[in-house]
Amino acid sequence: MLLKRKWSIICIAIALVMVASGCKKKAPPPPPPAPPPTKTVEAPPPAAPDITEFSAEPSSIERGGSSTLKWTVTNANQITIDNGVGSVQATGSRSVYPNQTTTYTLRATGPGGTLSKSATVNVTAPPPPAAPPPAKPDLGQRMSALQDAYYDYDKSDVRDDARSALTKDADLLKSIFQDFPDAVITLEGHCDERGSAEYNLGLGDRRATSAKDFLVQLGVPADKLKTISYGKERPVCTESNEECWQRNRRAHFSTGQ
């Protein structure tokens, strides 16, 4: 029993000594044995992608037309075409509608590398459409150049100033009727507020008629001119002064009611 104890103490002591010495100084490990030489087999390298075809047909279009892109690609697992086409299959076609000359680039990527090819669609502007015939101004616009004829109070004879206004109007009217052969123009007779409404109906009628007669004498076709009296029913102004009264004593051109 005592012996056994002695041996255990000795063993622990040796172990302690060994541990203590191990911490202080490490001995280099022996090199590993060299691996056995392996026999190497020559593996083939991965094939590079190939773009057998990438074309735009037709290669030239008019704006608004379409061209068809066609492609055949091998050895690629990722194929894209730029300009909005995106990822595509290895073989395919796609219609494109470029607005201007565009070069499409197909990019094929595979284990063997990346390859690009471009196809250009030339876009030509269509010829401009035939210019429309020069626009005629409308009848109302043409008539706005016609001048009113003005009258004295309770009178319907054509004054000197009305004479010169109506002479210019006659030329204008002839040209208007040439451009608008179907037009019929109304001469409205108007009065100021002072006379009675009933008498003024008759007076406005005289004013429209005298202006028409004057124009007809100058060669304006009579059947193209209608007359209507508004008496004092449709004044252009309503103030009670001579300036306004004069503005209302007139023959005025209109396209009718």
Binding site: A197, T209, K226
Partner: protein, 450 residues
């Protein structure tokens, strides 16, 4: 007096006394200056009838006052007690003793000093309003002689019913003086209150204003047949101004052939109900034509190189036509026979004259004239056609135009701008009792029909 003053000023200012012609103004006596004094105290009602007595008393008093037959005794002077029926009167014990209103003499003597007393009362009876109305000649010595009218009137128990019995009572009182009530007559006129000039109608007191046309065009210058059954007017609804005729009973358009012309206007319906006078530019200058009521069988009457409009035939003779013409210069009133002969100018050439309208008596016309005023400032005048004497009814309160006689021949309706806008007014033919009937929008060219 005013006129003399005006003349004097003009002479001084112008120094042209020879040019200031002394006007021949005389009073055209449509309205007798001597009027009967009438007392019309506020009446009372029993039961539900009392609720509408305000409307009743207003209507009765204004009908009597507006008739022009009476000087209405002022209500403030009336005695405290008002006899409501013959049984209420008391005989005074001695002549001259006041009975506080219960004696006839209490009304005949000052301060009331009336000649007549209209009295009575209303009650609700069998679901109706009943008016017991009496008229007494208070100058008579006893009740038996004094009672002139005693009558019952029935209406609905509402304001309309109360107004109705008041109108009827007033009509019976007027009839005693030979007067015609205007209750039930219509005034036709033009209004632009909708945004377009359309033809409207209303009662003579301005109530019941109704739109008759909806052309959304320019519809103007109405004329009414003497029997009130047909309304003619001028409208632009088909393009150029043309004549349209409506039945006032159905509101429907009656056929009228407008002759081919730039202008057919100012219609006047003949008293016989079969023909129409109008103005047309068919031959150039606007001239007077006559045609059947449907426009057929037309014939030109006047013949001049001048504007001629507004023909109006004498309702008594059916022969004389008054019309407006520019044949001697500025527009004036002329007269001619129905065949176009005998043309004579009625107005003296001064200013401008228009809108002639025959009194039902066939002797007097009302018209508008600028005589004595600036161009355009029309006033209403009357003229005795035979003597050509005239008198002026309005005096430069704006423009006053288009007088039209009421069927009673005593009232006129006319247009005036005195309020600032164009409105319709009535007045007695002596220029008094002026009432404004319209206020919405502008209103023109009234005509008074049955």
């Amino acid at each position: 007096m005013k006129k003399t003053l005006l003349a004097g000023i003009a002479v001084i200012l112008l120094g042209l006394s020879v040019l200031w012609a002394q006007g021949n103004d005389v009073v055209i006596k449509i309205i007798n200056g001597q009027k009967t004094v009438l007392a019309a105290p506020d009446l009372h009602g029993s039961g539900a009838a009392q609720n509408f007595m305000g409307a009743f008393n207003d209507t009765l008093f204004s009908d009597l006052q507006n008739s022009g037959f009476f000087d209405m005794a002022p209500k403030g002077m009336y005695p405290l007690q008002v006899p409501q029926r013959p049984e209420d009167f008391r005989q005074p014990p001695r002549p001259g003793t006041s009975m506080g209103g219960l004696a006839l003499a209490d009304w005949a003597s000052p301060p009331v000093s009336t000649n007549y007393l209209a009295t009575g009362y209303t009650a609700e009876q069998n679901g109706q309003i009943v008016l017991y109305g009496w008229l007494f000649d208070v100058g008579q010595p006893n009740l038996a002689n004094a009672q002139i009218l005693g009558k019952r009137y029935f209406g609905s128990v509402d304001e309309a019913g109360a107004r109705l019995v008041a109108h009827q009572f007033a009509a019976d009182i007027l009839a005693h003086w030979g007067g015609t009530s205007l209750f039930g007559t219509k005034i036709y006129f033009v209004s632009n209150r909708t945004g377009h000039k359309e033809i409207w109608s209303m009662d003579p007191d301005g109530s019941n204003q109704k739109q008759l046309t909806s052309f959304k065009s320019i519809s103007i210058m109405p004329a009414i047949s003497p029997d009130g059954s047909k309304l003619a007017f001028t409208s632009y609804a088909s393009g150029n101004p043309g004549i349209f005729i409506l039945s006032t009973e159905t509101g429907r358009r009656l056929p009228f052939y407008n002759q081919r012309a730039s202008l057919n206007a100012t219609p006047d319906l003949m008293p016989d109900g079969k023909q129409i006078l109008y103005a047309s530019s068919a031959s150039g200058y606007t001239q007077i034509y006559v045609a059947n009521l449907d426009g057929s069988n037309l014939r030109r009457i006047s013949s001049s190189r001048a504007i001629e409009v507004e023909p109006k035939v004498n309702p008594k003779t059916g022969n004389d036509i008054v019309f407006v013409s520019g044949r001697t210069g500025p527009q004036q009133i002329f007269r001619m026979n129905f065949d176009g002969t005998g043309v004579e100018r009625l107005t003296n050439g001064e200013g401008e004259a228009s809108n002639p309208c025959w009194n039902p008596n066939g002797e007097v016309i009302a018209f508008s004239w600028t005589r004595g005023y600036a161009t355009g400032n029309f006033n209403i005048f009357l003229m005795d056609v035979a003597s050509r004497e005239y008198s002026q009814l309005t005096h430069s309160e704006g423009r006053n135009e288009n007088p039209s006689w009421a069927p009673d021949g005593r009232h006129l309706v006319f247009m005036s701008t005195r309020s600032g806008s164009h409105e319709i007014y009535t007045m007695l033919a002596d220029g008094t009792q002026v009432h404004q009937l319209t206020s919405a929008g502008n209103n023109w060219t009234p005509v008074w029909g049955k």
